[in-house]
Amino acid sequence: MSGTTPPAETSAKIQAETGNGSREWRGVAAENQDELSEQVSFLLRSRSRRLLGELLRPYRRKIVLLVAIIVTCNVASLAIPYLVKVGIDAGIPPMVAGAGPGTLVTVVSAILAAAVIQLVTRQIFLRMAGRIGQSILLELRRRVFRHFQRLSLSFHDDYTSGRVVSRLTSDIDAISEMLQSGFDDLVTAVLTLVGTAVLLLVLDVHLGVVALLPLPVLALFTNWFRRQSSIIYRRTREAVALVIVHFVESMAGMRAVQAFRREPRNQTIFAQLNADYRAANLRGSQLIAVFSPGVKLIGNVTVAAVLFYGGMLAIQGGVTVGVLAAFLLYVRQFYEPMQEISQFYNTFQSAGAALEKLSGVLQERPSVAEPGAPVILERPRGRVEFQHVEFSYLDGTPVLPRLDLVVPAGQTVALVGTTGAGKTTLAKLVARFYDPVAGRVLLDGIDLRDLGEESRHAAIVLVTQENFLFSGSVADNIRFGRPGASMTDVMAAARSIGADAFVSALPEGYDTQVGKQGGRLSAGQRQLVAFARAFLADPAVLILDEATSSLDVAGERLVQRAMQTILADRTALIIAHRLSTVEIADRVLVMDGGRIVEDGPPGELVGRAGRYAGLHRAWLDSISDHRDLPG
């Protein structure tokens, strides 16, 4: 694609690309998760069916009970018209004849009884079904959320938070809709269907067979619908996910959107995604628009056939007029619920597609898996070792070609190097965000892959380069390092790194809400909070990835001083571009192109004429001001 595409043309291009998943603005990534070959759709269905089964299993008994209740309820409600007929046929003539209202009173009481039964059973049914449905939703939400939390970063790197949100909102919504109304409708419809079919056959076999003859056609038709709709609804789920992803990202980056006048282009993209979603939805609605009247057509044709054939039979005396009349009534009643089933099918298919997506997520295995037999480390000492570690994010582009490194317990190591050298990658391997492609990373001689999750987290904490604050108060955010820490601990942590001053100056001190993604605080303040949080966690190995880059010099110096005491009894890996931080380190590692090219105490390295000496000189230049002195 050329870089000189004028806006109109670009949007036209986007317009033209309707329907195929990849759009150029999205860029290319290793795998496009949205695209599924249609062959796997069978697998998908069975996978989601399994999930559904799992979700329903705890309620097996209750569901049986539920069916019994709804049957009772339906019997009661179907009995009422029948009782009315009985009342008229058998209750009134005796009264007219002056024999008293005995039968009538019985019938009326029966109707009232039926109404009461209906009242009670329906009430129980609605509540029970509601509770089961909501419990299933709760369980599903819980499972999917926890699973997302379990999944490794390599998964989240591509999946994006928008898609996570879409799974846990719009997909869950689709399922919720089915659970809310679907079950009720389905059971009622099926009951009426079976009951009426039996009735028809009992009334008159010949005519009954004619009335039921179109059933195979109906089955074929339904099957066609099912196949079509499962494709269409899958597409709908994907389309809505893309809408959500774009929405969420635009909102998160609104500052850049507005500052860079991105609005028109965003609008074009959004409108396009939205239109795709509409198109997918429209296809679904149109399918229903064909299916539902289709069923009606089959029903009406059957009615006509019954009229004709039944009429003939009646004329020839094969059936009585009464039977014919009943048939006409029942045939209509037979095909009416089919309409409802089609409606139900609609929500069902949509929920099915959603369930497919969710089961897909649940099936995803974390690439950084928890060990089967986790080793528990009671008192981590903090010796970190890399043994022949190789790592790459994408196959074929090694980021760390081969790394060997031992950091003895208690050592403070500074990691420096050009940007993109792989410092953060190294840090992430220690925190086990990823597993090495080859070799191993050890803590106190134990492979991280064998170490229990709890032990690992208690021992190693990484302050990431990008510090994320959750909405909540400042105290909440600091407490994130150690949930359960008392307010005193929180304040002590803040104080020890020099964050106390600014927090106390906030209008509500530690209870001040930090706002969406910490927006209420300045960049440096966010960094201080993130730092305090790590300090509160009190791990044996603390990794600081440019944890002071946004602080002013004074603030940085304060943190530095604090670090000297904080880091005294723990292993620390400090990544920093400002070499002032390095001064407190016992040892400096210089990284370049994924390799450690220099290693030694800072004093010694400065003396050598190597990379570090060069960096150090450049740094001295940067903090001083003599180079621009006139003359």
């Binding site: 509540r127 809408v243 860079f260 959004f270 009406n300 909405s471 010099v553």
Partner: protein, 606 residues
């Protein structure tokens, strides 16, 4: 269902403060909000009027077909005339086919219209959000916004697509049948009408409560969406501390809350639905009893009673269906409320109309002050600062002193509370927003990237940039690495650029700002994640760029400060000193404290 995490206690306090005062719940306007959406249906007006034709025709046919049955029984069958049978059967066939066709037409016509409605509201919703200023976005969680743009709009679509039509059809059916009943035998008819009174009363009561509950569920779902979004966006932090369980606890809390409220909703509607179904049945029993008495006393014929009862049976379904339709309507109304709540928010920052013919980028802060909405103290006050075209001023100040805030006033991400800011003598508030924002480009302290191609991220502000311009911008920002990515500039970078290193992200953000060729270039501490060598290279290249533009550089380091001609020191919310670096170093102790090299470093230099 209590959360089973061990840290229940904490997550309790956690969630309490976490459920920040979500935007105040406005008075529920329900139906009015929904009605206000009608303009979106205008493009489909003809269709929406037309749709009633097949809708009613289909209902009519539905009533006619049984009549043909009666005709056949009374006619050919009674007379034994098989000749006359065929035409009637064919008529039934024809009508049956017509009914199916009409149903098809109704659905087909409506599908497009309501989807069109949903889509255009969503488009407008999004566009409105893009217009609303940062102040709005800072106070609204995107989960809340998202649930309005998706869940709520679908609820509206569903109701307008089916609910409303059925509501009318069902009402017409109920009224017609009741009318027929009244005509047939008025005392019993009256009984039927009277039985409607409890239904109406309950409906009203129900409506009031249901609308509150469904609003609560919808709000809670929005909150949960926010938790989800944060937990996904902050996944690295969560993993770094191994707080998956803790976050799940927070989610659990929200999910359980929805469960509770939904159950309340279930119980409420269970009661209501049952009520709706039972009343007609009880009425039926009464009709039968009283009807029989009437028949007994000879005021009513048996035939009429039979017809009456049969007709009444036809009322049972519509009345119980009313329950579903009303709840769907209720949800649509709350949804419309929630949507209008956002659409009704007026953008506080709108552009003016003045145009600068030949913008030079002469920037002046004239007594500018700023106070965050809801804050008591202003962050900035009495800012007087002039930056001439081609000049660069460094803004220096302690952490949290208001540097970022100051820079965001220029492109009007926020508006000054007092004073004004001018460009070439024109108040920025008088300029059209796109105009203003093409004059000013900012490289933010947080890179703010999107999960799109590198190219798209770079050309955010100028997607007509040529290949050479992109190359130049990348060169200036020392971001040549972009070409080495697996698919070059077409590589999709992760969300927030997470598949890049910190320094790479920052350089892309810088290249983006440079690429938009602004008259005023704002660099908000944009070199903080670069190593010193790369930083020196970037500074070298930036010097050229800054010579041609007006520059504001927020800096924590002397090296960056030296990019500027003058330095403004931000102290206690205002610019306390302006001068050259060396002057300030010599004369202002506060400045020295902020920028002087590390004591150790001083020694090393000597």
């Amino acid at each position: 269902m209590p959360p089973d995490t061990s840290d229940t206690e904490i997550s309790d306090t956690e969630t309490e403060s976490r459920t920040r005062p979500s935007p105040p719940l406005p008075r529920l306007r329900g139906a009015r909000s929904l009605w206000r959406l009608r303009s979106y249906l205008r493009p489909y007006a003809t269709r929406l009027v037309l749709v009633w034709v097949p809708a009613f025709a289909a209902v009519g046919i539905g009533i006619t077909i049984p009549l043909i049955g009666r005709e056949i029984i009374d006619g050919p069958v009674a007379r034994g005339d098989s000749e006359a049978l065929l035409p009637l059967a064919l008529l039934a066939l024809g009508l049956g086919m017509a009914e199916a066709l009409l149903v098809f037409l109704r659905r087909w016509l409506l599908a497009d219209a309501v989807l069109g409605l949903e889509t255009s509201i969503r488009d407008d919703f999004y566009s409105h959000l893009q217009r609303l200023p940062m102040g709005f976005h800072a106070s609204w969680q995107s989960g809340q916004l998202l649930s309005r743009a998706t869940t709520d709009l679908s609820a509206i679509r569903r109701f307008l697509g089916f609910g409303l039509l059925f509501l009318v059809l069902v009402t017409v059916q109920i009224v017609t049948v009741t009318g027929l009943l009244l005509r047939m035998y008025w005392p019993l008819g009256l009984l039927v009408v009277v039985s409607a009174v409890p239904i109406v009363l309950t409906s009203l009561h129900f409506e009031r409560r249901y609308i509150l509950i469904s609003r609560r569920v919808q709000d809670e779902q929005g909150d949960l969406a926010t938790v989800v979004e944060e937990s996904a966006a902050g996944i690295r932090t969560i993993k770094a501390f191994g707080r998956g369980r803790h976050v799940s606890g927070i989610f659990e809390e929200g999910a359980v809350k929805i469960y509770g409220t939904s159950m309340e909703k279930v119980r409420l509607s269970a009661r209501f639905f049952t009520f709706l179904e039972v009343i007609p049945n009880i009425t039926l029993a009464l009709v039968l009893l009283l009807g029989a008495l009437a028949v007994g006393s000879g005021t009513l014929t048996l035939g009429t009673l039979v017809a009456f009862a049969t007709l009444m049976l036809q009322l049972v379904w519509p009345i119980s269906a009313l329950g579903f339709i009303l709840t769907a309507g209720q949800e649509a109304m709350t949804a419309a409320d929630r949507v209008m709540e956002v659409l009704d928010t007026e953008p506080e920052i709108v552009g003016g109309t003045r145009v600068i013919e030949r913008p030079r980028g002469h920037l002046r802060f004239e007594g500018a002050g700023f106070r965050f909405p809801g804050a008591t103290e202003p962050v900035l006050h009495d800012i007087w600062l002039e930056v001439r075209p081609g000049e660069t001023v460094a803004v220096v100040g302690a952490t949290g002193s208001g540097k970022t805030t100051l820079t965001s006033l220029v492109p009007r991400l926020y508006d000054v509370s007092t004073g004004r800011i001018t460009i070439d003598g024109v108040d920025v508030r008088d300029l059209p927003l796109p105009e203003l924002r093409s004059l000013v480009a900012t490289a933010f302290e947080e890179p703010t990237l999107f999960s799109m191609s590198v190219r798209e991220n770079l050309t955010l502000g100028r997607y007509d940039a040529t290949e050479e311009e992109i190359a130049t911008a990348l060169r200036i920002a020392q971001a040549g690495f972009a070409y080495e990515l697996p698919w070059g500039l077409e590589t999709r970078i992760g969300e927030q650029g997470m598949s890049l290193s910190g320094g790479q992200r920052q350089r892309l953000a810088l290249a983006r700002a440079v690429l938009s060729r602004p008259r005023i270039l704002v660099l908000d501490d944009t070199l903080s994640a670069l190593d010193v060598e790369t930083e020196a290279l970037v500074e070298q290249a930036l010097r050229h760029v800054l010579r041609e533009a007006t520059g504001i550089v927020v800096a924590h380091r002397a090296s960056t400060v030296l990019l500027a001609d003058r330095v403004a020191l931000l102290l206690d919310g205002t610019i306390a000193h302006v001068g050259r670096h060396h002057e300030l170093m010599a004369s202002v102790p506060e400045y020295r404290a902020l920028l002087s090299a590390d004591p150790d470093a001083e020694e090393a230099r000597l």
